[in-house]
C-alpha cells in the first residue's frame, strides 16, 4: 500500500499518538514508522511527574483511617469528613499529572499504548479504598510492563491491591481453607465473613484474557476463584493475624494468605492444577496468557482501539500472530501494529473519547491543563469521570457511544470557552490547524477557519472539525 507521506506523518501522530503538538508532524515526516518504533522501549511507559505515594501507602492510610474512625467520630463529625475528603482528594493531583504527561509528551504513541492497557485492566473509584488506588495501580502495575510480556502485565495487575479490592478478591476465602476450619466465635483474627467471591476470577477470564464466548464455563470460573483464594493485601493490623495465620508482605502490598487458600487440586479448562499456594493461580495465569483465545481477544481489542471500531480481520490476524509467535511480547505486538498496512488507511474512523479530545486540544495549542478543579469536572460533564470508568469493562470504544447529540453540543460549548482563552496567545489559527492535522486538514475546514470572524471562532472551528474530532 502506498501512502502519501504527508498522510503518513499525520496518521502517526494523531491516530497512533494523542494528537499533534506544534512541530510534531514535521518530526514524523519521512520515516513515520521509525518515529513510532523509537517510542517502544523495555522500560515501559513514562511516569507522570510529581511526588506521589505508593499504592501500599495509600492502602495503609485508608485502612488506618477506617480503624480509627470510631475514635475520631467521638471527637465530632468534622475530623472524619475532613479525613475522607483529604484521602479522596489525594487522587486529584495524580490524575492531573497523568493528563499533563499526555498533553506534553513527545512520545504520545507510547502514552496511547499505555492508556489502552490502563483501560483494558480497569480499576475505578467505586469506593474510598479504590478511589485512591487507581493512580498507583496504573503507575505500579501497568506502566512498567506495557512493552514486556503480557503474562507479566497480567500478573502485576492481578496482584495489585487496586485490582484485588476493585474486583473483591482480597476477602475471598476458600470454604475449606485453614481459617474456615478453625473459625469459631471469639477466635482471634477470624474473618467476619468467610467464603468465595468469584468476581475477579470471572473478569480475568472474560475481560483480561480469554474473552467472553471463548468456551469457559461457570465451573471454570468457580474453580479459578478457588485457585485465587489467598491472593490478598497485607493489612496494617498484621499483628491481629499473628501466629500460624501470618503471611509475608509489607503493609499495603500483595500477600498470599495460606490461611484463606482453598486446599487441593483445581480443574480449569480441562487441565489439572496440583500446585500449592500462590503458584496454583500463577500457573493458571501463565496458561491462559498463552492461549490462542487470549491472543485473539487482545488483538481484536488493540485493532479496535487503534484502527477501527469494526477492525479489519487481516489486521487482527496479524496482531494475533505477532502475539503467539513472540510468546506474548507486547513490544512485538506494538511493532506489528506499526507495520500493519491496515493501520495506515487515510480514512479516519475512530472518534475521540472525551479524554482524547481534550488532551489533543491542549496538544494542538502547545499547552497542558493546570488545575484539576477545572479539568476534572469538564471530563465528568463530557461523560468520562476521572479515574472512574463505569464498569470493569472500562470506557466505551465505539463512536456511537461518544457521539451522542448532547456530547457534541457539550464539546462545542467547551471548545468556545477554551478558544476564548487560548486563541489570543497561541498564534495563527490556520497555522495551528496545519500543525495539528497536517495532510488531514480538509479544504472546507481550512476555508472556514480562514473566513472566521475572530481567532477564537477560528480555533473553535478547528477543534470541532470532523477531522479533529476523529483520528
Amino acid at each position: 500500500m502506498s501512502i502519501d507521506p504527508g498522510f503518513e506523518a499525520s496518521i502517526a501522530v494523531t491516530r497512533f499518538g494523542l494528537g499533534a503538538r506544534p512541530g510534531e508532524i514535521d518530526a514524523a515526516r519521512g520515516d513515520a514508522k521509525g518515529y513510532l518504533k523509537a517510542q517502544i522501549r523495555d522500560s515501559g511507559a513514562d511516569q507522570p511527574q510529581g511526588q506521589f505515594e505508593t499504592g501500599a501507602a495509600h492502602f495503609v492510610q485508608v485502612r488506618e483511617y477506617q480503624i480509627d474512625k470510631r475514635q475520631a467520630k467521638m471527637a465530632g463529625e468534622d475530623p472524619v469528613k475532613a479525613a475522607v475528603r483529604q484521602i479522596r482528594e489525594s487522587a486529584q493531583p495524580e490524575f492531573l499529572a497523568r493528563a499533563q504527561l499526555a498533553a506534553q509528551t513527545d512520545a504520545s504513541f507510547r502514552e496511547r499504548w499505555t492508556l489502552f492497557w490502563c483501560n483494558h485492566f480497569t480499576v475505578a473509584s467505586k469506593n474510598l479504598n479504590t478511589a485512591v488506588l487507581v493512580g498507583p495501580f496504573e503507575r505500579e502495575a501497568i506502566r512498567p510492563h506495557v512493552f514486556g510480556r503480557f503474562e507479566d502485565l497480567l500478573a502485576a495487575s492481578t496482584m495489585h491491591p487496586g485490582m484485588l479490592l476493585y474486583l473483591d478478591q482480597a476477602q475471598s476465602i476458600g470454604p475449606n481453607s485453614p481459617i474456615m476450619q478453625m473459625r469459631g466465635p471469639g477466635f482471634p483474627g477470624r474473618p467476619k465473613a468467610g467464603g468465595l467471591n468469584e468476581n475477579l476470577a470471572r473478569e480475568i477470564l472474560e475481560l483480561h484474557t480469554l474473552g467472553v464466548g471463548s468456551g469457559y464455563t461457570q465451573a471454570d470460573v468457580t474453580e479459578f476463584a478457588r485457585a485465587l483464594t489467598g491472593w490478598s493485601i497485607q493489612g496494617p493490623e498484621t499483628a491481629r493475624f499473628g501466629g500460624r495465620f501470618a503471611s509475608a508482605g509489607a503493609p499495603g502490598e500483595f500477600t498470599f494468605r495460606e490461611a484463606f487458600h482453598e486446599p487441593g487440586a483445581r480443574h480449569i479448562l480441562g487441565k489439572s492444577y496440583n500446585q500449592e499456594g500462590v503458584a496454583q493461580a500463577g500457573a493458571v495465569l501463565h496458561d491462559i496468557s498463552a492461549s490462542p483465545a487470549t491472543a485473539h481477544h487482545l488483538a481484536t481489542k488493540i485493532a479496535r482501539h487503534f484502527v477501527a471500531d469494526d477492525p479489519p480481520p487481516a489486521l487482527v490476524a496479524r496482531l494475533e500472530r505477532a502475539y503467539l509467535q513472540s510468546g506474548g511480547r507486547l513490544d512485538q505486538v506494538a511493532d506489528a501494529l506499526i507495520e500493519a498496512p491496515e493501520a495506515w488507511a487515510p480514512q479516519q474512523t475512530k472518534f475521540k473519547t472525551p479524554y482524547e479530545f481534550l488532551i489533543s486540544s491542549y496538544r494542538a495549542v502547545g499547552a497542558a491543563p493546570q488545575d484539576f478543579t477545572r479539568f476534572g469536572p469538564v471530563l465528568t460533564g463530557l461523560g468520562q469521570q476521572p479515574f472512574n470508568a463505569p464498569s470493569p469493562k472500562g470506557w466505551a470504544e465505539d463512536a456511537e457511544a461518544w457521539a451522542a447529540p448532547d456530547a457534541i453540543v457539550k464539546r462545542m460549548s467547551w471548545s468556545e470557552s477554551f478558544s476564548q482563552v487560548a486563541a489570543p496567545v497561541v498564534g495563527q489559527p490556520i497555522q495551528i490547524a496545519q500543525n495539528s492535522l497536517g495532510a488531514q486538514l480538509s479544504p472546507p475546514v481550512a476555508l472556514a477557519i480562514s473566513r472566521a470572524e475572530s481567532r477564537p471562532e477560528a480555533l473553535s472551528i478547528l477543534l470541532m472539525s470532523p477531522e479533529f474530532q476523529r483520528r
Binding site: N197, A367, V378, E457
Partner: protein, 443 residues
C-alpha cells in the same frame, strides 16, 4: 516549544461542569395527529445495570427458603422494622421502594419476579447487549429494540428520549438519537453552530447528532422552565464519590462507598435520591411538552453488589432509593399523563440465591422486573414463581427464569404502544415467534 498555559483558571469552562445527566431524544418528526388514544401513550424503560438483585427488589419473604439462603442480607418480614412492604403473602417490596409500593396499592405497579433474557453466560456486558439489542444471541444486532420498535410504529411518527451519560444501545438505531443535559449550550449569539452544521452536512455521524442536540437544547429551555428547582446547580451534589470536586448526579448513580461513613453516607444517599428525583421530573417535563417524546430510556448503574450488599440499608438500598426517586419524579411530574404512561424497570440478570462469602451475591440468572403505570390492569405477579427450593434453583444457584424478558417487553409494546405481533416477532425481537407476549398487563 512548550508553553504551559493556564487556560482554565480564567473563564467560562464551568459551562460544561456539573453536567452528566443527559437526555437523549429519538427522531424529530412532528407529533402526528393520528393514532387516537395511542398518540398520548408513553413508555419509559429503566435499565438497571450491574445485575440488580431481584430477591431484594421484591423479596419473597413468604418463601420458606428465603431467609436461610440470604442470611444477613435478607430483607426482614412484613411487620418487622426495616421489613418488606407487603404485596401479597409471598412477596414484598424493598423498604426503599416506598413510591413503587404506594403505586402497587393503587393497582399501578406489578412485579415479574423471575424474568430473564435468553442469555445464560452471566457476563454483564454480554447480557446487557442481549437485554438492549433484543436479539436472542450476543452481538446479534447493533441497534436497540426500542429504536426498532419506533420504526415499527412508522407512520405514527413518535418521538423518544433517553437519559444516561452515554448513548445507550437500547435506543441506538436508524432513528437518530439526541441528548441533553443541564448546563447546556450557553453562547446563543455564536455563529459556531451554523458553521459546524455546514461542515457536518455530509458527516453521517456528526451532522444528525449536532442538529438533534441543538433542537433538544431549545426544548430543554421549555422543559425546565416550568420546574424552578431544576438548574445546573441543583444537579450538582457535592457527594464523596470519586475524589473529584463537583460530582454530577449521574456519578451519584455509580457504585457508592462500601465504606459507609455514618451520617455522611446517609447524606450522600439522600443527595443522590434528590438528584434522581429531579432527573425524573426533568424527564417528565420533556414528555409533557406538545412535541415531547413519547418513549424514553434511563440507565441507573451500580447494582453489582458482590460485597457488602446490605439489606434494608446499605449499598443496594441506596441504589433502590434512587430507582424509587426516579419513579416518584416521573409519576408526579407527569401528573394527569401518568395514566397514559407505562414504566418498565429491568436488569441484565439476577444474582445468586445464596449469600456469598463477602456479604454480597454473585452473578445469577432470573431477576425481578417492575412494571408501573397509571393504566395497568390489576393482577398478581407477571409470570410464575419457581420458588427457592434447592431443587428448583437454576444450576443449583440462581432464581430460575419462568418468563422470557422479550415476552415481557413484547406484551408492553403490544398493549401500550400498539406494535403489531408480526413486527415484534421479526424486526423488534428477531426470530422470536416462539416467545409469546405477556398479556393482560395494560388496560
Amino acid at each position: 516549544m512548550t508553553r504551559p498555559l493556564d487556560l482554565t483558571r480564567r473563564s467560562a469552562l464551568t459551562a460544561a461542569a456539573g453536567i452528566g445527566v443527559s437526555v437523549t431524544f429519538l427522531g424529530r418528526q412532528a407529533f402526528a395527529e393520528v393514532g387516537g388514544s395511542l398518540a398520548k401513550r408513553k413508555l419509559v424503560v429503566i435499565v438497571c445495570r450491574g445485575a440488580m438483585d431481584g430477591l431484594s427488589v421484591s423479596p419473597p419473604v413468604g418463601d420458606s427458603n428465603y431467609h436461610a439462603l440470604r442470611g444477613e442480607i435478607a430483607i426482614a418480614g412484613f411487620d418487622q422494622p426495616g421489613g418488606a412492604l407487603k404485596l401479597d403473602d409471598t412477596f414484598g417490596l424493598h423498604p426503599k421502594l416506598a413510591t413503587v409500593h404506594a403505586l402497587a396499592m393503587k393497582g399501578q405497579a406489578r412485579i415479574a419476579p423471575a424474568v430473564a433474557t435468553p442469555d445464560r453466560a452471566r457476563s454483564h456486558f454480554e447480557a446487557q447487549d442481549v437485554l438492549e439489542s433484543g436479539s436472542s444471541v450476543v452481538y446479534g444486532a447493533s441497534s436497540g429494540w426500542l429504536n426498532r420498535a419506533m420504526e415499527a410504529m412508522g407512520p405514527r411518527k413518535i418521538e423518544a428520549i433517553s437519559v444516561g451519560a452515554q448513548a445507550p444501545l437500547i435506543l441506538r438505531g436508524k432513528i437518530q438519537a439526541a441528548s441533553w443535559s443541564p448546563g447546556g449550550y450557553k453562547d446563543r449569539d455564536s455563529r459556531l453552530p451554523a458553521i459546524l452544521a455546514d461542515l457536518y452536512a455530509h458527516d453521517p455521524l456528526l451532522g444528525p447528532a449536532l442538529a438533534t442536540g441543538l433542537d433538544t437544547e431549545a426544548m430543554a429551555k421549555l422543559a425546565t422552565a416550568s420546574e424552578a428547582t431544576i438548574t445546573p446547580a441543583s444537579m450538582v451534589t457535592p457527594a464523596p464519590v470519586a475524589g473529584q470536586a463537583p460530582v454530577d448526579s449521574m456519578a451519584m448513580m455509580q457504585p457508592q462507598a462500601t465504606e459507609p461513613a455514618g451520617r455522611a453516607y446517609a447524606q450522600a444517599g439522600r443527595a443522590g435520591a434528590q438528584a434522581a428525583r429531579t432527573l425524573g421530573t426533568t424527564l417528565a417535563g420533556f414528555m409533557m411538552q406538545p412535541n415531547g417524546p413519547q418513549v424514553a430510556a434511563i440507565s441507573i448503574d451500580g447494582f453489582d453488589t458482590h460485597a457488602n450488599q446490605g439489606a434494608a440499608e446499605g449499598q443496594l438500598a441506596n441504589r433502590l432509593a434512587y430507582l424509587d426517586a426516579v419513579v416518584d419524579g416521573l409519576s408526579s411530574g407527569l401528573g394527569p399523563e401518568w395514566r397514559n404512561t407505562v414504566v418498565v424497570a429491568a436488569t441484565e440478570f439476577g444474582r445468586t440465591a445464596h449469600i456469598n462469602g463477602t456479604k454480597g451475591t454473585d452473578h445469577g440468572t432470573a431477576s425481578t422486573a417492575l412494571v408501573l403505570g397509571g393504566g395497568l390492569k390489576s393482577g398478581g405477579i407477571i409470570g410464575d414463581w419457581p420458588t427457592l427450593q434447592q431443587a428448583r434453583l437454576f444450576e443449583n444457584r440462581d432464581t430460575a427464569p419462568t418468563l422470557d424478558m422479550r415476552g415481557l417487553f413484547k406484551g408492553v409494546l403490544a398493549e401500550q404502544m400498539g406494535v403489531s405481533r408480526r413486527a415484534l416477532d421479526t424486526t423488534v425481537f428477531p426470530d422470536s415467534a416462539n416467545v409469546a407476549p405477556a398479556t393482560a398487563i395494560i388496560a
